[in-house]
Symmetry: C2
Subunit: 383 residues, 2 copies
Amino acid sequence: MFSFTLHGTDGEARAGTLHTPHGDVATPAFMPVGTYGTVRGLHPVEVERTGAQVMLGNTYHLHLRPGEDVVRALGGLHAFSHWNRPMLTDSGGFQVFSLEGLRTIAEEGVAFQSHVDGSHRTITPEKSVDIQWALGADIAMQFDHVVPGGADHTLAKEGMERSLRWLDRCKTRHAELQSDDPPRFPASPPQALWPIVQGGTHADLRRASIEGILERGPWTGIAIGGLSVGEPKPVMHAVLEGLAPVLPTGTPRYLMGVGFPQDLLEGVARGVDLFDCVAPTRNGRHGSAWISTGKVNVRSAIHRLSKEPLDPECDCETCATFSRGYLRHLFVTEEILGLRLVSIHNVRFLVRLGELARTHILAGTFDGWSREWLRRYHLRGES
Amino acid sequence: MFSFTLHGTDGEARAGTLHTPHGDVATPAFMPVGTYGTVRGLHPVEVERTGAQVMLGNTYHLHLRPGEDVVRALGGLHAFSHWNRPMLTDSGGFQVFSLEGLRTIAEEGVAFQSHVDGSHRTITPEKSVDIQWALGADIAMQFDHVVPGGADHTLAKEGMERSLRWLDRCKTRHAELQSDDPPRFPASPPQALWPIVQGGTHADLRRASIEGILERGPWTGIAIGGLSVGEPKPVMHAVLEGLAPVLPTGTPRYLMGVGFPQDLLEGVARGVDLFDCVAPTRNGRHGSAWISTGKVNVRSAIHRLSKEPLDPECDCETCATFSRGYLRHLFVTEEILGLRLVSIHNVRFLVRLGELARTHILAGTFDGWSREWLRRYHLRGES
């Protein structure tokens, strides 16, 4: 039900296909985030039309609102969100560890207060797997111990080792759910569980993490967590470069929470297949658009009389239809349509960047193309 | 370029077709309001798919932001808004008269302070026509003197008589613009100017208003203003009943700023052909939906586990796709998509009500059908 075909490589960059019960995913691929079962500001049909192949859901947020019982009662996350392509849920780990001051970490799990209503709750590895099983995405993530970007060796080692112990518990619980007879949720599709490489910025810990994960395999995908959390870009690149040779070639690699256009290309160059980030919609809501020649502030008065599309090179619905002058007007008058139109563009921009990267990997031209792409993208400041 | 074909009547109710340079409008018809050149929360293509045939723009708002010069530079209101069906602009009269405390009324026009930046501005009949000509909608409205719902005979008479004097000035200015050689805006399509019947709730003043308007004709459409501004419903109905016999049958009748579903049917029963109101989208943004059996508060906890559509009898995109449970979740989590989905439903609900009314008028079954429709709609409270 879950497998990965590697079609070609160019340096470390890889072009593949991930097979899931809800369809195939051509990689490299950017996956938009639908925190509450909706990519913010967009209709699921619009998300489909960006070419996005996988939607993410956030277990922490969906657990709090509407609750996994509601999602399940309404047919599971696919039916609930009206998204029939592959879905992935994170484990809630990143969110609960981010609740600084509102959470207590123990070996058993993390006790925390809901940011919505202050209610006291606990997520354990088993609970995270249970919630994700009820949500019913194609791919579930292990519950992991996330440490801050600058964590020292001791703290990073503790988080990495605990993540391995929690991986065991997630795997056990996931196997129990899969073999339940009768099944807890009769209509559940098969679900994959993916581990997460931790270890902060420490090469030896990252190596130990991946070794521990592989000992516990096989896996249909492996995620890399704890990056893009404040560390300098060269440090993230070094971690990825250290991991590439030890990650199994036949397994897709998912760099969690990344990223921006340049991060996507830098990640692909270092062997990453899958990416996710809220940046395209968050930036879109603030009127910040990515285009082939850099960033554009849609609110800027220089667009007032512009009949040009946001990005003349883009094939998204927004660029095909609306002028910069109209988009600026929508932001100035705080019309909701503006948020949507720029978000559509930004999602399509990252999805298309994945598509272009794939084409160039298969043609053996990735390195030169991505260097030139990045040069143009960084050439001028924001306008 | 502008004409009206009356296909049939049923009592006072009329089924017709308004012909405009941007296409035909089957009446009775509800026209959604695109205040700033966008129906709030909706994409113009979504508005089209509701079956809406005409979009309104607000001259006051578009004059302030982005300014008619910007709209014109970006190709006129149709191109600006990406709406290729008929458009109508109001005159700004209703908005500037609503700026209580911020405006001074004189025979020349209305001086006011912008609600956006406090700048001092004046709209005269000539200025209103100039702005509307620059915006370039198919139909422009005369600048009128609007009085409050409870205005006494003296005040209502003053407003009605001034509206007639301003109609003369609007007509003169509009004729000048049309005969400009070379034309001020080379690509301008033909534009109709419609007068507005005023006179408050006073039958003799309404009669005098329509007589004055007809003396100044011919017109391709006549609007009824100053209703649904706080007066009791029976009073509005009485005014419409008084006007129906004296309005020319071959001219479409537009009841401005109305309305809610029941108002639309009550208006059609009294000979009205065209309606506009912001209620479908304003209510939609607050999670209030109209359905065949009354009103629904989408936020209500009773929908938490509901797999039902908002209205099982509705053919809109929202009802075809999403559950009440999901819609409620979107409102609870303040996801923008929720506003959009309920707004789509509400606009389609009113557009479809116009379509149904037309069918029943042509079949000679309007009276019984509309009574039964209103009975069901009012049968139970909100849920």
